[in-house]
C-alpha cells in the first residue's frame, strides 16, 4: 500500500480508496473540494515527491508540480502539501 505523507507530518496508507481525496477525507484531513470530477480545481495541491496517476484527465488548470486529489491515486509513496 503506497504511503501518503503530508507536510503537516500526518502519514497515512492509501488503501485502494476511489481517489486520494477519499483517502484524505477518511483520515479526517482538511481538504477542499467542490465538483469531485476534476473540473473545478478546488482540491488542487502540491506534489512534493513521488508520483500519482490520474483516473481521467482533469479539465481544471493545474500548475507544474500541482495535481488534483479528486481524480488521482498514488503511483508510489508520495509527499504532498495541502494548501
Amino acid at each position: 500500500m503506497p504511503k501518503v505523507r503530508l507536510t503537516s507530518g500526518v502519514e497515512l496508507e492509501f488503501d485502494s480508496q476511489a481517489s486520494l481525496l477519499d483517502a484524505l477525507e477518511q483520515a479526517k484531513q482538511p481538504v477542499h473540494y467542490q465538483c469531485r470530477e476534476g473540473f473545478c480545481g478546488a482540491c488542487r495541491c502540491k506534489l512534493v515527491s513521488g508520483s500519482i496517476q490520474y483516473l481521467y484527465e482533469p479539465l481544471a488548470f493545474v500548475r507544474q508540480g500541482e495535481f488534483l486529489l479528486c481524480c488521482s491515486v498514488p503511483d508510489s509513496d508520495i509527499d504532498i502539501e495541502l494548501p
Binding site: Y33, R36, R63
Partner: protein
C-alpha cells in the same frame, strides 16, 4: 486586427495568439492550439439542462410560508443572480468574440455565454412559479440600489474594453478627437483592458454567485425551496466550469508564451488583480449584510456568510497564482460542498453511470463479439 466576420487572410491558426491576432476565419477543430477549450465545450454540452425539467411547484407553497425577512433573502438573491446572468449571457460574446483569434476558444466563449442564457431563463421559471406577479420582481432589479451598485463593477471592465476596441477599430492607434474629447488608444491599452476584464469576469463567476448559492442551499437543507436548489445546483456546476475556463485563459496569458506582451501586462496588473478580488469580496460581504438586515435564517447568518466569502476569495486567488488576502483557511459552511458536488446533480440512471453523458449520443456499433458471453 480590424474585425471582420470572415477573415480573408490565409493564416495558420496554430500560430495565432488567443486574442488580438487575426480574426478567426474557418471554424475548424482538426488542429488545436489549446485543446482544453474543446474539452470544456464538450463538458458544457454534456451538462445541458432546461429549466422546465425541474419542478418548482412545491416552492410556491414554501415561499408563501416563509417569514418576511426570509422572503427578502430569497427574492433578493434571485434578483442579483438575474443581473449577473443578464450580463454574462451577452457580454462575453460582445466583448470577447471580436478579439479572439483561435477557433476552439471562440466556440468555447459562445458555448459559455449560451449556458448563461439558460440560467437567465431559469430565474423566470422560478419567479413565475413562486409569484403571481413576476413582473414586480424583475421591475425592481433596475430600481434596487444594492443591486445596481454591484452592476457598476460587474460591467465596467466589459464596457471599457468594448469602448476602447470600437475606437481602435475605427481610428487605429494614437490620439483621437471624439466628440470634442481627446482619447488615446493603443494595442497595449486594449490588451490591458482585456486582461482586467477577464479578471473581473473570473471574480464574478468565482465569488459573486456564491453568497446566493449558499442561501439557496441553506433553505434546501431545511427542505424548503428545493426546486430552486435543484436549479441552483445545475447553475453552480456550470459556473464552476466557466470559472475553470477563465482560469485557463488567465493562466495562459500570464505565462506569456501565448503573447509575451500579455505576460508583461499580467505582471504589471498584479496589484489591480488583488484590488478587483478584494473589492468584490467586500461588496459581497456588504450584500450579505443587506440580505440579513431584517434577521438571519436558520443555519446561516451574516458573519458566517462573510467568512465564507473570505474563504472562497482566498481559494480563487490562489488558483490564478495570487496570494490569499484573508486569514480564513477553513470553510465555515462545509455542508455546502455536498450541494456543489457534480456527480450528485443528475440522477437519471443513464446519466448516473457516466457523468459526461451526452444528450442524443448513440453507440450503434454492435459486432458479433458482443454475444461471446451468452450461453443457451
Amino acid at each position: 486586427m480590424a474585425y471582420t466576420t470572415f477573415n480573408r487572410t490565409i493564416n495558420d491558426q496554430m500560430k495565432e495568439p488567443m486574442f488580438f491576432g487575426n480574426p478567426v476565419n474557418v471554424s475548424r477543430y482538426d488542429q488545436q492550439k489549446y485543446p482544453i477549450f474543446e474539452k470544456l465545450i464538450e463538458k458544457q454540452l454534456s451538462f445541458f439542462w432546461r429549466p422546465e425539467e425541474i419542478d418548482v411547484s412545491k416552492d410556491r407553497i414554501d415561499y408563501q410560508n416563509l417569514p418576511e425577512h426570509e422572503k427578502h433573502i430569497f427574492i433578493s438573491n434571485l434578483k442579483y443572480q438575474t443581473l449577473l446572468d443578464s450580463v454574462q449571457g451577452r457580454s462575453p460574446n460582445v466583448a470577447l468574440l471580436p478579439l479572439v483569434s483561435i477557433p476552439e476558444l471562440e466556440t468555447w466563449i459562445e458555448t459559455w455565454a449560451f449556458s448563461e442564457t439558460i440560467h437567465s431563463r431559469s430565474y423566470t421559471h422560478i419567479v413565475r412559479n413562486i409569484s403571481s406577479e413576476p413582473h414586480k420582481v424583475f421591475d425592481d432589479i433596475m430600481l434596487n440600489e444594492n443591486i445596481m451598485e454591484r452592476a457598476d463593477d460587474v460591467t465596467r471592465y466589459y464596457d471599457d474594453l468594448i469602448d476602447a476596441c470600437n475606437l481602435y477599430n475605427l481610428c487605429g492607434a494614437g490620439s483621437h478627437n471624439v466628440n470634442g474629447e481627446s482619447k488615446g488608444v493603443s494595442l497595449r491599452d486594449l490588451k490591458k483592458k482585456l486582461y482586467l476584464c477577464l479578471l473581473s469576469v473570473n471574480v464574478l463567476e468565482a465569488i459573486r454567485f456564491y453568497v446566493s448559492f449558499a442561501c439557496s442551499f441553506a433553505f434546501a437543507e431545511r427542505e424548503l425551496m428545493e426546486g430552486n436548489a435543484k436549479i441552483i445546483r445545475l447553475i453552480a456546476r456550470d459556473e464552476a466550469l466557466h470559472l475553470t475556463g477563465t482560469q485557463h485563459i488567465l493562466n495562459i496569458l500570464a505565462a506569456g508564451e501565448d503573447d509575451p506582451e500579455m505576460g508583461e501586462i499580467a505582471k504589471e496588473c498584479q496589484q489591480d488583480a488583488i484590488a478587483i478580488f478584494q473589492k468584490a469580496a467586500e461588496q459581497e460581504k456588504a450584500w450579505a449584510a443587506y440580505l440579513f438586515k431584517d434577521g438571519s435564517m436558520i443555519g446561516l447568518n451574516k458573519d458566517i456568510l462573510c467568512q465564507y466569502v473570505e474563504y472562497i476569495t482566498n481559494i480563487r486567488m490562489q488558483a490564478i497564482g495570487l496570494k490569499s488576502i484573508y486569514p480564513t483557511t477553513q470553510n465555515p459552511i462545509p455542508w455546502i460542498n455536498a450541494w456543489l458536488v457534480s456527480d450528485n446533480v443528475q440522477v437519471a440512471p443513464q446519466e448516473a453511470e457516466i457523468s459526461s453523458y451526452l444528450v442524443g449520443q448513440i453507440d450503434n456499433q454492435v459486432d458479433t463479439s458482443e454475444f461471446d458471453d451468452f450461453d443457451l
